[in-house]
Symmetry: C2
């Protein structure tokens, strides 16, 4: 099948989502079956508003910088399509745009929600017999996509987190005055990123206590244990997921707000995002430590300067595999990774049904989580994903990111 392709990016950005974009764009530009390569500005929202770029008009040298440029070069969105069976209006609009440009290939780089978008678009086109191949390309720092060993974007974020924890450990143990440092790491429902802090503890010095959202967080037990460890060790570093929650399933930060003795500003608004601040304030009250809260915030998902070469290479591969598979007749699939680790890391791609990854979230396996820690099973899993230093283009010792012309289609 010959025609135009649209490539879009969706959801939270990562350090390597543009590597997947590059892999897809290059394969598409190289394919004789793909006559025109369009990029969607802000994902599916951009497609719906006919806000498309002609990527064939970009300079090759700038495209080649994509794998080293963090965030989504085409712009991203968090737009959830309705179900095409019950509410086809948006899909009719989508179809009109696809017909306008004779789009026969649609590639969407994203996480669970983006695979849901892909799945719906694919299902609708099939229903109305519009011939278009739809492929999902995985990306998320959260690493919570089902059906794949891991997800591009995770390795680089994990590497930044492990590296920063090694550094922060050195810093927060430096004074004669003893300190407690609580570091908050992203991951609302899955603790993969927070678990990555254990790489620091394994290969140097890192957090003494690690808490993921997968197991219920008990505030009093935590405070008691943290105070004990602090006394025993003369200092304490805690890594905590933003998503830790109690037995009720309520986020620790929400539970605290409701209890009424906690973290609201003087207007009564709950302080957002501050689980590290919350724990720090509580630890301040039950120890003599100087306590500090650190939120890694956006840094952990855009730190291209600390990217994993393995991650970049795999992200790039995922993009090109999706395009080549579609050209060869595949549709309704997501590119996934199948890996082995015994006797050295091997990784190969496979295609899985979009339905497998859409919406579902993969947690860190219970057997890798201990009370306040992480097992070596996780270390063996994660270590290969952070390997290798990319040859990043620098000008004046600062990263040189891509500048796309963004020519309207």
């Amino acid at each position: 099948m010959t025609g135009t392709c649209i490539i879009g990016q969706s959801g939270g950005p990562t350090a390597v989502i543009n590597a997947s974009l590059y892999g897809a764009v290059k394969a598409a530009l190289d394919s004789p079956k793909i006559t025109r390569v369009l990029g969607a500005h802000h994902g599916i929202a951009g497609v719906l508003s006919d806000d498309l770029y002609d990527l064939g008009k970009e300079d090759v040298a700038e495209l080649e910088l994509l794998p080293f440029t963090p965030s989504s070069a085409l712009g991203s969105c968090r737009y959830k399509l309705k179900d095409p069976d019950s509410d086809p209006k948006e899909f009719e609009k989508l179809l009109a745009i696809f017909k306008k440009y004779d789009v026969r290939y649609f590639f969407y780089i994203g996480g669970n929600d983006s695979m849901d978008t892909c799945e719906k678009v694919s299902r609708y086109f099939s229903k109305v017999s519009y011939d278009c191949r739809v492929m999902g390309i995985p990306k998320t720092i959260d690493n919570d996509l089902n059906g794949t060993d891991h997800c591009p974007g995770y390795g680089s974020a994990a590497k930044f987190i492990a590296t920063s924890m090694l550094e922060v450990y050195k810093d927060c143990r430096v004074y004669d005055k003893r300190t407690i440092t609580v570091v908050e790491i992203m991951g609302r429902n899955a603790g993969w990123l927070t678990a990555a802090s254990a790489l620091a503890s394994k290969f140097g010095e890192g957090p003494d206590l690690i808490y993921l959202p997968e197991t219920p967080f008990e505030m009093n037990a935590f405070l008691e244990r943290a105070a004990d460890e602090y006394e025993a060790q003369g200092g304490l570093l805690v890594a905590v997921s933003e998503g830790i929650r109690g037995k009720s399933g309520k986020l620790a930060i929400e539970a605290e707000a409701e209890s009424g003795d906690g973290f609201v500003d003087s207007f009564g608004h709950v302080q957002l995002g501050g689980v590290a601040s919350l724990l720090a304030a509580k630890l301040q009250k039950c120890t003599d430590a100087k306590v500090r809260a650190i939120e890694l915030s956006l840094l952990q998902r855009c730190a291209a300067h600390c990217a994993s070469k393995t991650d970049i290479d795999e992200a790039l591969l995922a993009g090109s595999v999706a395009v080549n598979a579609a050209v060869n007749g595949e549709t309704g699939k997501m590119v996934a990774f199948e890996c082995t680790r015994e006797g050295g890391y091997t990784s190969k791609t496979k295609l899985i049904p979009l339905t497998l990854s859409a919406n579902a979230e993969k947690p860190v396996p219970a057997e890798w989580i201990t009370d306040g820690g992480i097992t070596d099973g996780f270390i063996d899993y994660a270590l290969p994903l952070i390997q290798g230093e990319p040859d990043r283009p620098l000008v004046n010792s600062l990263p040189r990111f891509t500048n796309l012309k963004r020519v309207k289609a």
Copy 2:
């Protein structure tokens, strides 16, 4: 003069303070005049409590990792000595320890307060005619030491800040939903670190507005301007020093707390360190943006993974120059840098009296600060300091930091 030397580290750590330690230790071990090389655990506090390490017993391979290891490998302190003329008690104790080990050389790596320590020690020894050469080795990410072009530690922190701002800019402009991001940078009294964020704006994309402590911060004028720029540009990135203060000289965060409508928790405690959160909360009220506050926190002073090779090399040089100068008869001096930038960067060391750097703080020159921005004069000044990528020792793609044995003297 022949005898033992003590080397200490003091004040806030940096990414390269251990490079200065290595420069000093190596020069001391190599010198026939220095018979024994001791390290003070937690700076002058460790000397006073006779808590000293024999650095001659460390493995050479581990010492060689010092230049790439952040934070202070010997431990640090924030201990202020009294004036020896009015209260000599501590100095008598110090003298006893120095005599115990026949210490004839004292090297102290630190900032303004540490130079104050050096100056007092030097003055006391001179008064009691104890023959000991005292040299200060500059370090501070704040870059606020008088008498030197710049200060080891600053270049690496500046590089991490500029790099992170380039990355964060990409991330925070990614969505169709428009955002404002406020990044808080260290520097209580001097804005050198915050100014470094302008390197991102100059050589890519960086903050749209930058505020230093050197010029009075007017909250209402800021909010009005930020809202305008946000509307005009469809997004906004603000870099702000933790030390911004109003015309009265009060920190913005303190003024807010006193005004009573601001940032206290439900116990009435002022939220610490949160000037970015304060500005974010106010911007949230006067714009339709999604607003986020980021605090670079400890990351900016310990990010050895983003260090400047120039900074490492100069830090190392400062350490060795101090030792060699002392061996050659100098005392009561601090190593400083004298640089030229026209026709390419050149840097050489000189010795300046300790009194020049002790306690005083060097602000960013007024002519480099505009209303909400930074001039090219600063860029020309700072750019050479962030140059070069060190060949960092990695194991498993994670930094391999030094492990000192810390054998008691």
